[in-house]
Each structure stands twice: as C-alpha cells, then as structure tokens.
Symmetry: C2
C-alpha cells in the first residue's frame, strides 16, 4: 500500500478481471445464495433473468479477492524497488452498493477503483481514512456493480524506517 500522504483523490487503478464460469457461479450459489437462477441453467432460462447468472454477493467477493491480489503485486513491486510499504488497517465497512446489471455465465468482469475522498484521523494519529469507489464492468462496457469502500491507511510519519 502507498502511504496516506502519497495518495490523491481521483487516482484510478484497474485491479483485475474475472471470468464467471458456470461451475464458479454454481459453487458460490450452492454455499451462500441457493436461488434457482444461480444454480441451474434450465431454471434460470425460465426466470426473469433468462440465463444463469452470478449471485450479487459473488460479484462483490471476487472484487475482494482481486483487490488482495492487486495490493500484493503492488507491494512486491515497492519492496523490489527498495521502497517502504504502508500498513492497511481493517475496513470499517462500505456504502451504496448497487448491482446494476446481472453477471451472466461467461461474462468477463473488469474491476477498477478510484479514490473519492480522504481524511486524516484526529482520533487515530498516524493513520488516515480513504474512501474508494469500486466498480465492475462487463465485456460490453456495462457497469454491473459499484460501491464505496473505506479503509485505514498508515501515514508516512508513523514509519521511522521509511526510505
């Protein structure tokens, strides 16, 4: 992670993409969202969706996984360049999650993030809070998910060994 002081509102990143296969959609749904249109092609064809589609929670959880992988790649790059890596605290939550289109079987969703707000934390010196708008867009350019997440990020002045 970058340090709080090095982050700017308006910064965007593509964090990764994921193809939602039938196996993938059904495995998630069987565990967490067993509705017919997430579990079975024939039942989905008879539903208002018309085709097998992913649970909205699945679309959100894939974002989490890609974000973890993205941050790891970025931090490995920083370490390889001899740069200090900021700590990231736990997320207190998020707001305004919208599922704007179904994610159908075979769709490729590209996830991106944009810093939309940041503030230093008087209550927790050495840490700042950042807010990011996270989005997923399908291969036709249609947004399928959007939400604003928040996270605690370490400030550079909390890190005496910073290079």
């Amino acid at each position: 992670m970058k340090f709080f002081e090095d982050i700017r509102v308006g910064e965007t990143s593509e964090i990764g993409r994921h193809i939602f296969t039938a196996e993938d959609i059904k495995a998630f749904a069987a565990r967490f969202d067993p509705q017919p249109f997430h579990l079975d092609e024939a039942a989905a064809a008879r539903s208002h969706f018309g085709r097998l589609c992913a649970s909205g929670w699945h679309t959100a959880c894939v974002w989490m996984r890609l974000m973890i992988d993205y941050r790891r790649r970025e931090d490995e790059g920083r370490r390889a360049r001899g740069e200090a890596v900021a700590l990231l605290g736990p997320s207190p939550g998020f707001r305004d999650l919208k599922w704007t289109k179904p994610v159908y079987v075979g769709d490729t969703i590209t996830y991106g993030t944009e810093v939309v707000e940041m503030r230093p934390l008087n209550s927790r010196p050495g840490w700042g809070m950042i807010f990011m708008r996270n989005t997923g867009v399908n291969q036709r350019g249609e947004p399928v998910i959007s939400f604003v997440s928040s996270a605690f990020v370490e400030c550079r002045d909390r890190e005496p060994q910073a290079s």
Copy 2:
C-alpha cells in the same frame, strides 16, 4: 414472502444463526479474502486481531444464505396454510454496511432483520420497495455487522389468484 400491503415498518424477525468454525473461516478466506488473520491461527495471533477471525464478506454472505433459508421456511408455512406467497424481485443493492466487531473462531452469530422503510413504486405498478436493516450479533450480545438492504416485493393486487 408476505405481500407488500401486509408488511409494516418496525417488523422484526430472527432469521437464523451460524457458528463460525476454523474450517469454515479458512475455506472462505482461501477463496475470497486470503489475508493471514483469516487463514492461519499462528499468523492471526501475531496480528492486531489476536485470534483467527472471519472475513467481513464471509459474515455478510452467511446472512444471505440464512435469509434464503428463512424465506423458504416462511413460504412453506404459508403454502401449508393455503395462503398465497408474494414474489420477491432482485435486490438493487444495499447501503451503510458496517463491520463493528471481528467475528472470531467459535463465535455464534445470530442474524436479525427489521423493516425500516417501504414505498410503493409508481415506476413499476404492482410492486413495492422495502428497506430492511440487517444485523448480526455475537454470543456476547455485541453487534458485528449491520447493513440496510432493499428489495422489490409484489403487491397483493398484482396476484388475481391470491386466496
């Protein structure tokens, strides 16, 4: 599901409970949130959490599963009593998700829901929108998750066969 006209703001329901085992926490994290404090007891002991704890997304996904199971049980009861069952449309999303305490290994989380707002939909005759505050509370009575979800619910006058 109840019909829109039969729902009241302030109605509450306990939808179910779940024990978060180590196996359960690690399996979810390995797939969607591979951070050390969700994957490994020793790494969690060294983290700010101090003990193995569940991904916040896992806590949310278990709510989805328990809500599906709860609605099925309720609808089976209605059918057994010869009552009509209302359709529930897809959820457009939710807002204000807060993870207020970690969910530690062995915790039992009890999930509940309260209707907090409802409105008929002029844009979609025969349907209403309901907003519910969903919460999870651990065995010590501490809230661990809270969010407001929304859903389209069928109105009784859309259902000519209603008994």
